[in-house]
């Protein structure tokens, strides 16, 4: 048998193998149980080929970075301990499940912040300090916005399953002027000094003056726009325009 007798390529799969490569020899080869001694030389060569492949795999250089990452993942998984869900062998690769952790935490944090904002306003309304926390201008403001995870979370597709280290880009819901209506304080709590600013604004208006630009800007920012300042300040100022009567605000700076 020489190479010159080599059959035409490709070697058809459905033909029987060469006589020396029968079922039993093949199985022993695959099980790594074929010893070179006492077998056909060609079977021994095949055995050696398989052994070479295995030792080639074993001889591959270790990648320290990969090993470090895996060890870190091991520590993390063990720290998570029994909370870890079992990974079913035949199931779908469970890889992505955990990456949602940080994301939902962030969403939760945003939601909590939003609830705080809303409830703060609501409490203020209940206690009578704000008669109309959401001025009836049209549509409900901030609520829907805060419910949606507007802060886009970059779902890292990297296999280095990140832990919730994230201080970056957490969705802080300070949505300025999100609604077209006269939305009152859009920051978590009425800005300190807003009441004073409004009083100054009212005083200045009464005298036909303008506030200085800095104060005006701050007030406009708080109100959601220069045009909304009057409506905004109406909630805080003791002397509203004629026709309105409002209780004197005291605890509007609800912290």
């Amino acid at each position: 048998m020489t190479a010159s007798e080599h059959p035409e390529f490709p070697f058809p799969d459905d033909r029987p193998g060469p006589h020396w490569l029968d079922e039993e020899v093949a199985e022993r080869l695959l099980d790594g149980e074929l010893d070179a001694a006492g077998v056909d030389g060609r079977a021994a060569d095949l055995a050696r080929l398989l052994a070479l492949a295995a030792s080639e795999a074993d001889a591959r250089p270790v990648r320290p970075d990969a090993e470090r990452a895996v060890m870190a993942a091991f520590r993390e998984a063990h720290a998570a301990g029994h909370r870890a869900r079992p990974v079913r062998a035949a199931g779908a690769a469970p890889g992505r499940r955990r990456t949602r952790g940080p994301r939902s935490l962030k969403a939760l944090a945003g939601g909590v912040a939003a609830v705080f904002v809303l409830s703060g306003v609501a409490i203020a309304a209940e206690t009578g300090t704000l008669t109309h926390p959401f001025h009836s201008g049209g549509g409900t403001p901030a609520r829907t916005r805060s419910a949606s995870p507007s802060g886009t979370v970059t779902g890292s597709a990297s296999p280095s399953h990140d832990r919730p280290a994230g201080t970056t880009g957490a969705p802080t819901h300070t949505t300025p002027g999100s609604s077209p209506s006269a939305t009152p304080p859009s920051s978590p709590s009425p800005l300190p000094g807003v009441k004073g600013l409004c009083q100054s604004y009212a005083k200045a208006s009464q005298h036909g003056h303008n506030l200085d630009s800095t104060a005006q800007r701050r007030l406009a920012a708080a109100a959601g726009g220069p045009a909304k300042i009057p409506a905004f300040c109406a909630q805080f100022t003791p002397a509203p325009p004629p026709g309105h009567t409002k209780p004197t605000p005291t605890a509007s700076t609800h912290k």
Binding site: A53, A54, E56
Partner: protein
């Protein structure tokens, strides 16, 4: 390359590995390191037949899954290897889907991408076969054959276990592996497919 290395060593079969596996399940980091270093090369070897040069990356992804399931895994060395191989295979198929690349084509079967002619005409003398080529030679088999051979050679799985990993009948996997061996023997150029009668 000596004849003595015909018999493959399976580092993941001995008692040491079993003990390490048990400790790793309890959270022993050093033990887990032992498990990783013993099994990862073989996992990469198997993955080489699926994703080629991306094998290392896919293996890393695989281990991230393994560590999360390890605490709940019950089984000895072979079952563990089969479990790891299953995860690796899922990861590899995911990877191929991500790449939008067809899983390794059966280039030897469809004849559209035949290997270099000199290999065919002259075969490969084992003496010329460097270690760098042995694995690629297997990886070049049609995928079902490559997988069947590699699961058994690299991960030491028997036919039923390999079949479970592949989601096939043991007989089919055995046949695929045998066909792979025939091809390899053919490549070595010393078999004489001419002897088929």
């Amino acid at each position: 390359m000596g004849r003595a290395e015909v018999r493959r060593r399976d580092t993941t079969d001995d008692a040491e590995f079993g003990a390490a596996l048990a400790k790793a399940r309890e959270g022993d980091e050093a033990a887990f390191g032992t498990v990783y270093r013993a099994l990862n090369p073989r996992l990469v070897g198997y993955l080489h037949g699926l994703v080629g040069h991306d094998a290392d990356d896919v293996a890393s992804e695989t281990w991230h899954d393994i560590v999360r399931g390890l605490g709940d895994f019950r089984g000895e060395g072979p079952a563990f290897r089969a479990w790891a191989a299953t995860i690796a295979r899922h990861r590899a198929l995911d990877h191929l889907r991500r790449l939008k690349v067809r899983p390794r084509t059966t280039e030897l079967e469809d004849g559209t991408a035949e290997p270099p002619a000199e290999r065919d005409s002259e075969g490969l003398a084992l003496e010329n076969l460097s270690t760098a080529h042995a694995l690629s030679l297997i990886a070049e088999l049609p995928r079902d054959q490559a997988e069947a051979v590699l699961l058994r050679v690299m991960l030491g799985l028997n036919a039923p276990m390999a079949a479970k990993v592949l989601g096939k009948q043991p007989g089919a996997v055995r046949t695929a592996a045998h066909r792979g061996l025939k091809r390899l023997a053919d490549r070595l150029g010393r078999t004489g497919g001419a002897e088929e009668e």
